[in-house]
């Protein structure tokens, strides 16, 4: 039987994601939204708003937050938590940049 392990996976170049924008990574565990901020920081969240499952990758990215396109909840990119009075969390996927490439820490079947 295969065991589950986590490892850093290269999902693409920083420049594949537009600044103040997002791209989707499709993966067995569900869609992941990868965000790039105005100053080139990279974050990744599960692409499901904690409110009613809106695709966060389609929202407007500002500072280190994204506003969900369905009902305007603002989700913090660093923590995945809803900001302000709203409560809920979109799962955070650890992300790092190496040599201009984005790596996500993902579960893999080894």
């Amino acid at each position: 039987m295969n065991a589950m392990t986590t490892s850093w996976i290269d999902v693409g170049a920083v420049t594949d994601v537009p600044p103040r924008g997002s791209r989707v990574v499709k993966e067995a565990g569900g869609d992941i939204a990868v965000f790039r901020t105005a100053n080139d920081r990279i974050f990744a969240l599960r692409d499901r708003c904690p409110h009613l499952g809106g695709p966060l990758s389609q929202g407007i990215v500002h500072d280190t937050g994204v506003t969900c396109p369905l009902h305007n909840w603002v989700i913090d990119l660093e923590t995945g938590q809803a900001r302000g009075a709203d409560e809920g969390c979109a799962g955070v996927i650890p992300a790092r940049i190496e040599d201009g490439r984005i790596h996500l820490l993902l579960d893999r079947e080894g």
């Binding site: 490892s7 996976i9 290269d10 999902v11 693409g12 594949d16 994601v17 537009p18 600044p19 103040r20 924008g21 791209r23 989707v24 990574v25 499709k26 993966e27 067995a28 869609d31 990868v34 901020t37 105005a38 100053n39 009613l52 499952g53 809106g54 695709p55 389609q58 929202g59 407007i60 990215v61 500002h62 500072d63 937050g65 506003t67 396109p69 369905l70 305007n72 603002v74 993902l106 893999r108 079947e109």
Partner: protein
């Protein structure tokens, strides 16, 4: 019989005098005012904010036409008086008209002084005195280029800062070693020069102008030392002279200015004078506070109070350049028997200096922090002995043995007689009492009832603090609703500043307007992007990351993350080929739902984002383009069958609807725009609940607007009647453009109309035919850049990353 009062000059002094007079003795005179300027009375000291773009001319008008009408005053605009015949008691205007008077008031203000160097008459040399000068400067600034301002005093620096904000390269030439040397000492003058230079304004002191260069227009300025500075415009702001020539030629006693006694009377008992044109006890003034005091005295005199007297004024100065805080009052020269107290805080750029003589403040200069200016000025004017507070005096009034009190406490601590508004001489007690007596709740009301903050506006902060103190929670500062939490500015200010400062990108707006967040939020970014799109057609690169997802991917997002696709059906008309293409697309992409919309077209719902470009490619092939069902843009134009088929149809409503949709599609608007065109008043296209509606009638077209049938229900208002289809189209395009230029983001037409007034809109579109033509032309100009089908662009590959995942890992697939 009522006496005839004639006033020559319609400036600030005359305006204020008339206010007092018509309040105290409304029926005493039949009044005629001659103003050489072709306009109503305005607040001259706010010309600088108009120049810089921080205010519009309308905002600085003090008395509009209705004001004169309500008081029965005849205002002759553009009516320059060329002669006074004292024997016959008449005045003669430039057009030859002769008007008799029983009493005459001369209020001709002053003339800018023009240094008579060679070239001073060249086109492109302007003074800085009235709206015409501002317009001349604005016209020059339109092409960018370079400006030279001669004179580093109050006016010169305000002109320089304004022209700089309008995007010109600006050099200030000043004869003396430091700027504003008559109001500031050298230390403050130096700080001021640094602040101007930090704005990108070049300052050259000790600059003696030799000549102005140019053949048929200014090209530059040469200094005595041979330096040449290129210039497209030269502003002369070296000083003013009382404008007393007319009085002098009438034989009145004139020295530097027209001589008046304490009753504001000249040496002719039936002629009075007021304002900058006069000389009183050897003094001529150049600021409004003394003139307002004179105006009050003269009004009382004319109203019959023979005792009213003016005894001269001590003045203080503030510079109205946003971001530069500067205050000066009294005499701050060094001298025998004078001591000074100085405070410097280099880190904060603060400098304060008090000059003391015989235990009294005789002069004050403050730079960088001026909140205590009014208090020092008060001590100075009242000659209050300061020995008791000498040690802490320089720290200001709120100093209480250590930590600085918060500004509210400082205002609370002010005595009732402390002067808050220097221009109008309004003290604290008057403001708080009026707020309480009259139940005032807004700044505008306080301005109207007390005049405080109504002139140069630099005391607005203090007045607001007083309101907060008096009203507690009942006061909401700043009736302007900010765009969002990222800024304190309201939508209108942001729009105006974008244009005024020539800001052409979202980051530039945020930088220049001091956004409080690093890159805005989902509320302000789409608004700013729209304002930029509307302000700079063809010149602004859309910031698509600032658009809501629907406008980014040109489809409507659905609750499950899929999208809907709505092609345009011009005027609701379709044909077999289009329907067949739609049917094929539905089959090919297995689109789950097809629905007729409320807007006379077909909605394909549940399309996967990845499929959008391919769906569009097939629709495009059949000639179908985006219906912008997702945009703050032109949506649908509903029509009925009209005269082509219907037995009641009066005009071709279908044809007009299609024509309008073809001209207007693709235009971005503050909120969505929907049209309806009905062929007769039976109104089958429901035109009278649309943003813009047309009801065809036998005699032509009734154009309606400002309807609503969504969150609110509201029938339209009539905008006007058009005899021809062309005229109806022009009216609709002009209306749409006015809406595009004036409404706030997300404000539908009916909300905009409710805010600015139906009549104000009718006046622009229906009454002013020239304005209508220009608006329509601007609409058509911007359409050149917006009528590319966004679907076709994306089929061709634009923003391809939007429609593709960045990576796709199937289960069990290797990390590669």
């Amino acid at each position: 019989m009522t006496q005839k009062l004639v006033v020559i000059g319609n400036g600030m002094a005359a305006g204020r005098m008339l206010e007092h007079l018509t309040e105290q003795a409304p029926d005493a005179y039949s009044i005629t005012v001659f103003g050489a300027e072709p306009r109503v009375n305005y607040n001259r000291i706010l010309l600088s904010p108009v120049l810089s773009g921080e205010k519009t001319f309308d905002e600085i008008v003090t008395h509009d036409d209705a004001w004169y009408a309500a008081r029965g005053i005849t205002l002759v605009k553009g009516g320059e008086i060329t002669a006074i015949d004292r024997a016959a008691r008449t005045v003669t205007a430039r057009d030859g008209g002769v008007t008799p008077y029983d009493r005459l008031v001369v209020a001709t203000g002053s003339m800018p002084f023009i240094v008579p160097v060679p070239g001073h008459k060249l086109p492109g040399v302007v003074a800085y005195r009235d709206l015409d000068d501002v317009n001349a400067m604005l016209a020059a600034a339109e092409n960018g280029g370079r400006a030279v301002v001669i004179g580093g005093g109050l006016l010169g620096l305000e002109a320089a800062a304004g022209l700089r904000m309008r995007g010109m390269a600006v050099t200030v030439l000043h004869l003396m070693p430091t700027l504003m040397e008559r109001q500031l000492d050298t230390a403050a003058g130096y700080l001021l020069q640094q602040a101007m230079e930090a704005r990108g304004i070049d300052v050259i002191c000790r600059a003696n102008t030799h000549s102005i260069l140019g053949e048929d227009h200014v090209t530059g300025v040469r200094l005595d030392d041979g330096t040449e500075i290129a210039a497209d415009i030269v502003v002369m702001a070296v000083g003013i002279r009382p404008n007393a020539a007319l009085a002098k030629s009438a034989g009145l006693a004139v020295n530097r200015g027209l001589l008046v006694d304490d009753h504001m009377r000249t040496d002719d008992p039936s002629i009075h004078a007021v304002g900058e044109c006069v000389e009183h006890r050897g003094q001529c003034y150049g600021l409004v506070a003394p003139l307002f005091e004179m105006a009050k005295v003269l009004a009382a005199q004319l109203a019959g109070d023979a005792t009213a007297a003016y005894e001269g004024s001590v003045t203080s100065t503030k510079l109205k350049v946003t971001g530069v805080d500067l205050f000066s009052a009294g005499d701050f020269a060094e001298g025998e028997g004078r001591e000074e107290i100085v405070l410097r805080d280099a880190a904060r750029g603060v400098y304060k200096r008090l000059v003391i003589k015989d235990d009294r403040i005789v002069g004050a200069v403050m730079y960088g922090e001026t909140a205590d200016g009014g208090w020092f000025f008060d001590l100075l004017r009242k000659a209050t002995p300061i020995a008791d507070m000498r040690d802490t005096l320089i720290f200001g009034q709120s100093f209480a043995g250590g930590a600085k009190l918060d500004p509210m406490a400082a205002v609370a601590a002010l005595p009732d007689e402390a002067e808050i508004c220097g221009c109008n001489g309004v003290c604290k007690g008057k403001i708080t009492a009026t707020i309480a007596d009259k139940g005032l709740t807004t700044l505008d009301q306080v301005r109207a009832h007390t005049k405080a903050s109504a002139s140069c506006g630099s005391c607005t902060g203090l007045v607001e603090q007083l309101m907060a103190l008096t009203l507690g929670d009942g006061f909401t500062r700043n009736a302007v609703q900010p765009v969002c939490a990222c800024t304190d500015l309201g939508h209108d200010d942001v729009r105006r500043l974008i244009v005024a400062k020539g800001l052409k990108s979202v980051p530039a707006v945020m930088q220049e307007l001091e956004w409080k967040t690093s890159c805005g939020c989902a509320k302000c970014r789409p608004a700013l992007n729209y304002y930029l799109v509307a302000a700079w057609p063809g010149d602004y690169a859309d910031d698509y990351q600032s658009r809501f997802v629907n406008e980014r991917v040109h489809a409507n997002i659905q609750k499950d993350g899929t999208y809907s696709v709505v092609p345009r059906m011009w005027g609701g008309v379709t044909n077999a080929a289009e329907l067949r293409a739609i049917a094929d697309v539905v089959d090919k992409f297995q689109i789950p739902s097809v629905k007729m919309t409320g807007g006379q077209r077909v909605d394909l719902l549940g399309v996967r984002k990845e499929d959008l470009p391919a769906v569009w490619a097939d629709l495009n092939a059949a000639g179908l383009v985006s219906g912008h069902a997702y945009g703050k843009a032109l949506r649908t134009v509903k029509t009925c069958v009209g005269s082509e088929w219907c037995r009641f149809g009066t005009q071709d409503s279908t044809g007009l609807g299609i024509r309008l949709e073809k001209i207007m599609w693709g235009s971005w608007t503050p909120a969505k725009v929907k049209l309806g065109v009905s062929g007769c008043p039976r109104n089958c296209a429901e035109a009278t609940c649309k943003d813009i509606g047309v009801i065809c009638v036998d005699s032509g077209y009734d154009v309606h607007f400002a309807g609503a049938a969504g969150l609110e229900i509201k029938g339209t208002e009539v905008l006007g009647h058009a005899d021809t289809e062309d005229e109806a189209v022009e009216i609709i395009l002009a209306l749409t453009q006015a809406y595009r230029e004036q409404a706030r983001y997300l404000e539908r037409i009916y909300k905009w109309a409710a805010r600015v007034g139906l009549d104000a809109i009718r006046a622009q579109i229906m009454d002013d035919v020239e304005q209508r033509r220009l608006l329509a032309a601007r609409f058509l100009f911007s359409q050149q850049f917006s009528q590319t089908d966004p679907w076709a662009e994306r089929v061709a590959g634009l923003h391809a990353h939007e429609f593709r995942p960045m990576a796709h890992f199937e289960p069990r697939e290797a990390a590669e």
